[in-house]
């Protein structure tokens, strides 16, 4: 596949070129210092050099609120909401968010392939951009380098003077047709960036660490600081738990069934009639969340379900860091190994 230089001055034309093909979604500024993915109306407003967006592009495939069913109460008739494929070009996606989408694909296609999600996922084109990690990104620790091209059709590697545009798939090369302000790039694509935040264990080891960490006191310690607001789940690009509620319209004749993103950190998440709550202790909820990111799903799917985006940490008002939690588990695990090893050495003596 080919690669091209794309100078900073040409980026706008490139976006306009894309806009002629399909609806383009890209990062825009929001409020004081945040970014969000939005449909591009004016190429000038796109910001490709961003830290991270508030929500990931998950919101296009699994909207945070979604009507599932509409019904008529008078005659019990009901109809499903038509789900349309998004059919967009997603421009400027970071590798961890792309990886998160691939994980959601897994969750929604395994067992019962869910029509709502999967239909929206049809026929989209993804154009990645590399990013400069801030204090909270740690995706390299879960094998997601800023230049990881898996899942993308085109990839824009950021350089000093603009971008090196890499064609990743045939769809990607087709997309370039008709855009000729390019010079060919010959050489190695950049492939690493410096991260400030790391998990101190390779992936293979993490799985062992989590086998030993169920009763670690850290869950209880974190629970003292945690307010249980659910932000960490709701900001996470790989979380997809949801709740469903029915609403009746003011006419009293019709209504709708709506699903809404939910969070396993909320006490009500496991509450059943009669008031029993299966994970009443905050510590148990924290453990469940972190295990879901690093063990429960990963054991069968083969990869951590955390993509190292740092959202849950940066948005946590209590300042709880998933990196610190995991590293604490790792160091406790190491200490235990040392004790066990020295016990074994002692036994040999």
């Amino acid at each position: 596949m080919n690669g091209y230089y794309l100078s900073q001055e040409n980026v706008k034309d490139f976006i306009s070129h894309l806009m002629k093909k399909k609806t383009v979604y890209a990062p825009h500024a929001k409020a004081d210092h945040s970014f969000v993915f939005e449909e591009v109306v004016d190429a000038d407003n796109v910001i490709l050099d961003y830290v991270r967006t508030l929500n990931s592009i998950k919101k296009y495939f699994m909207p945070s609120r979604e009507v599932m069913l509409r019904y008529n109460l008078d005659d019990n008739s009901y109809s499903i909401e038509d789900v349309e494929p998004v059919k967009g070009i997603f421009l400027g996606v970071h590798s961890y968010d792309m990886q998160a989408v691939l994980r959601l694909d897994h969750s929604f296609s395994h067992g019962n392939p869910e029509k709502n999600y999967l239909t929206r996922r049809l026929d989209n084109i993804f154009i990645g951009t590399s990013f400069t990690p801030d204090n909270f990104h740690f995706s390299s620790s879960v094998n997601i380098q800023p230049h990881k091209t898996e899942g993308f059709d085109l990839f824009m590697h950021k350089t000093d003077r603009g971008y090196v545009l890499e064609e990743v798939t045939k769809t990607g090369s087709d997309l370039m047709k008709g855009f000729d302000q390019l010079t060919k790039f010959h050489g190695e694509y950049p492939n690493s960036e410096h991260f400030k935040s790391h998990l101190y264990a390779p992936q293979e080891k993490l799985s062992k660490v989590f086998e030993e960490s169920y009763d670690n006191p850290v869950w209880h310690e974190i629970a003292q600081k945690c307010v249980g607001c659910g932000t960490c789940n709701l900001a996470c690009p790989t979380c997809y738990c949801f709740d469903v509620e029915d609403h009746v319209d003011l006419s009293l004749q019709s209504g709708s069934r709506e699903r809404r993103l939910d969070s396993c950190m909320l006490r009500g998440f496991t509450e059943v009639a009669g008031g029993e709550v299966f994970r009443d202790r905050l510590a148990d909820r924290i453990r469940h969340r972190v295990y879901r990111k690093f063990k429960y799903i990963s054991d069968s799917a083969g990869e951590p379900w955390c993509v190292g985006c740092g959202r849950c940490t940066i948005y946590c008002t209590a300042g709880i860091s998933i990196v610190d939690i995991v590293n604490r588990l790792v160091s406790d695990y190491d200490k235990k190994q040392i004790v066990q090893d020295s016990d074994m050495i002692a036994a040999w003596d």
Partner: protein
């Protein structure tokens, strides 16, 4: 690399679309519990196994997971028994024969009737837990020659709370069924056992190798029943139990019923006890 199943749009499933069913009969068992007989409007068979559940929906109120209490049959009807505890169940208690409901399912793993083949079956049902077990009991009664002894133990808070009163009498009088029941609190009218359900188990004379215990009841019951069975010498391998968790979708997506790595709506609600022991939060 994530293993994504590459599936085609024709395989996408409309997971949340209910089919309509009509209530054909209602019977009030107790102050809080009613029994419903339903048929799918499209005339099809539900096609379930004992221990499975359906998501019942009332438009405007929502959905709730409810066990199927009837044994599988081929004439298009099925039965539910519902306790009034909250918003949804209050609504369904207001419904009458002729009213319509939405049904999704059947869902989940029920009791593996093939695995139970030829065994003595010990049913342990606490309170509303008898609801899914009744499906199994009647299945066994329908295929009586395929199974060994059928021992039913059933406990309720008091005599007014006993469900399926007519059937209890049938089981009681059936020479092919060993039936034992108890209530936590007795009163004048009650002539039978008084005490929690675990008191029914020690006197039983069981062929430990060939007996399978099937348990359903309120969460706190499990610990004590397990202890009693263990002290009797029953192997963990011979125990099945059904769990309850909050559920929204019934199809392994919404996450509410997850206990450690297991989704109750997919891997359960009926679990083989050795598997359940690996799930730390389960009991």
């Amino acid at each position: 690399m994530i293993k994504t199943v590459n599936i085609k749009p024709e395989n996408f499933k409309e997971l949340y679309f209910p089919t309509l069913a009509e209530i054909t009969e209602v019977q009030q068992f107790t102050e809080k519990e009613k029994w419903y007989k339903l048929s799918l409007l499209d005339g099809s068979n539900l096609g379930h196994y004992p221990g499975q559940f359906v998501e019942v929906s009332i438009f405007g109120a929502g959905e709730a997971p409810i066990s199927i209490t009837s044994a599988p049959n081929s004439y298009g009807s099925f039965e539910l028994c519902i306790r009034e505890v909250g918003m949804f169940t209050e609504m369904i208690h207001k419904m009458k024969a002729g009213d319509k409901l939405g049904i999704r399912g059947p869902f989940g793993q029920g009791f593996d009737v093939n695995e139970l083949y030829g065994k003595d079956i010990l049913i342990i049902g606490g309170g509303i837990g008898i609801v899914p077990l009744r499906s199994l009991i009647n299945y066994i009664l329908d295929h009586r020659q395929d199974y060994g002894r059928l021992i039913i133990t059933y406990g309720a808070r008091n005599s007014k709370d006993l469900l399926f009163p007519e059937e209890l009498e049938l089981w009681q009088s059936n020479p092919d069924v060993e039936f034992h029941q108890t209530v936590d609190y007795g009163d004048e009218s009650w002539k039978g056992n008084v005490g929690v359900i675990t008191t029914l188990i020690p006197p039983l004379d069981l062929d430990l190798k060939n007996t399978i215990a099937c348990i359903t009841g309120p969460p706190i019951m499990y610990k004590f029943v397990l202890l009693t069975l263990q002290s009797k010498g029953l192997q963990d391998d011979n125990i099945y139990m059904s769990l309850e968790r909050r559920m929204k979708c019934g199809v392994g997506k919404c996450g509410h019923c997850q206990i450690n790595h297991s989704y109750v709506c997919q891997d359960g609600p009926v679990y083989h006890y050795p598997d359940l022991k690996l799930i730390r939060e389960a009991i």
